[in-house]
Every structure is written in C-alpha cells, then in structure tokens.
Symmetry: C2
Subunit: 146 residues, 2 copies
C-alpha cells in the first residue's frame, strides 16, 4: 500500500521539509523571528491527537522533545539561545494535525504572547534558509545515530 500522507499546501507555502522521522515530517517554518519547527504525523486524515493510536502519540511526544533540541541548536547558532520552548497543536487555520515547536526569548518581540496569528513572518532568505536546513539535517542525523 502506498503511503497516502501529504502535507497540506499551506505548509508547503510557509515552511521547508527538513527530514522524515519515524512518525513525523519535520519542517522549518520560514520565519527568521523564531527558531520554529513543525511536526506533521505522516498519516492521512488526522486532525486531533485522539486520531492517532496511543503508540503513535508516544512517538509524537518523543519527536516533540527531539525537535526542541534542534530548535535550541538553531537558537544557539543564531547567537540567541532559547529560554523557553512553546509547543502547540492548534489547527484552527490548517486542520491537518501538526505540532509547532518554537523557541522563545523575552526579547523576541512577541514575548510573552504566543507566536500564532501575530505579526508577519520574516522570511529567512534563500541562503540563510538553506544553511539552517543543512544544519538541521546534519544535527538530526547525528541525534538519530546517538
């Protein structure tokens, strides 16, 4: 059977694929204001956590933690270490189940408000985006080998 998973076009427009983990597609949000990853479970037809099996939910939780490590790494690389992780599964705008993992700092311009639906994205720019994705892929490979 072919995998019927496909990321919603809204994700294609605003983020870039980093890699696939056992459960999720990992994407970098194209918004240089925050180190920000999106995890999309690679299953068709999901919109709520309850739509996953309990085993997949446990995997999702571990992938969220692993994404947090990558987000911290991105913040370090930018000279802006993450002080708080924000994790959210909302889906009010794009219903396909996905989890945001965002690195926050008191000087990030939106603190302490959530990032969703506020302000406009600041695109990374092609070179910086590609560099960040390469760094993330390298790190993701290292952590899965560890």
């Amino acid at each position: 059977m072919t995998d019927p998973f496909k990321a919603d076009p809204a994700f294609e427009a605003g983020s870039t694929v980093v890699c696939d983990w056992p459960l999720c597609q990992v994407r970098l949000q194209d918004d240089a204001r925050f180190p920000w990853l999106i995890l999309i479970p690679r299953r068709a037809g999901l919109s709520e956590l309850e739509d996953l099996t309990a085993a997949d939910r446990a995997t999702l939780m571990e992938e969220v933690v692993r994404a947090g490590e990558l987000v911290r790494m991105l913040g370090e690389a930018a000279g802006r270490p993450v002080e708080k992780l924000n994790v959210g599964a909302l889906g009010n705008v794009t219903a396909q189940l996905h989890v945001h993992v965002v690195g926050r700092r008191p000087d990030d311009g939106l603190w302490p408000d959530p990032v969703w639906g506020r302000g406009s994205a600041l695109p990374w720019g092609a070179g910086a985006l590609q560099a960040a994705v390469s760094r993330l892929r390298q790190e993701a490979r290292r952590s899965s080998a560890g």
Copy 2:
C-alpha cells in the same frame, strides 16, 4: 518522602482543582468563554517537557487526550459542541510546566487566534463553576473506571 509538588499561585488565582490523575493535577480555567482545562504534572521543578521522564511524557500525552474528552463534554453541556481542540504548553507567563486543553469553535469570539494573552477572562460565576467542576469530577471518575 513527601510529594513536593505545588501548583504555582497563578494557577490558584485563575483556575479550580478538578481532580488528580496519575501524573497531573487537572484544573478548570475560570473563563466561561471556552471549555478549558489545565494539566499540571505533579512533580516539582519542571518547566519543559524534556524535564519529565519519557514514561511520564507518555502518561502526559494520554492525560491530554483524556482531558480533551472532558472538554468536549463541557462544550456539549453548554450547548456549544467543540469543533477543534487546542493543546498548548507555553509557560512564558507561568514557568511551571503545564498543558492547556481548550475547546474551540468558529463562533467563539477569538477564532482562529489562540486564546492565550487575548481578551479578558469571563468568570464562570460561583454556581456555574461549581456545577461544571462537579460534572467534570463525575465524568473523570466514570472514564477512569472504564
């Protein structure tokens, strides 16, 4: 050893204890605009998901799903069935690790924005709050017996 867990005073001010689950204290947010529960892992000194053990994280995920069922029940009871669950672990304002589980509808006044940091809470009022807490306790007992 005594359990050193204690909910931050900010939670005491804005929400009411419903019950304790294996990992989390379950609280009802005192904001009648949304059916809204808060789960606080009953461990001391946590601020990020990575501070929990992997076993506790798996439990937390299952308690989030269970809280979602209670939130849906609250929405039904109010004649306003939940159309989307919003789940978030932020902690920018109150650092103690906690997870929000909020029932949303397109007509809820803030949709599609997140609920955090927007508008002012609409207190339930003593009678309605007590009725909601009683209903939640009854339902939480039923689901744990099932």
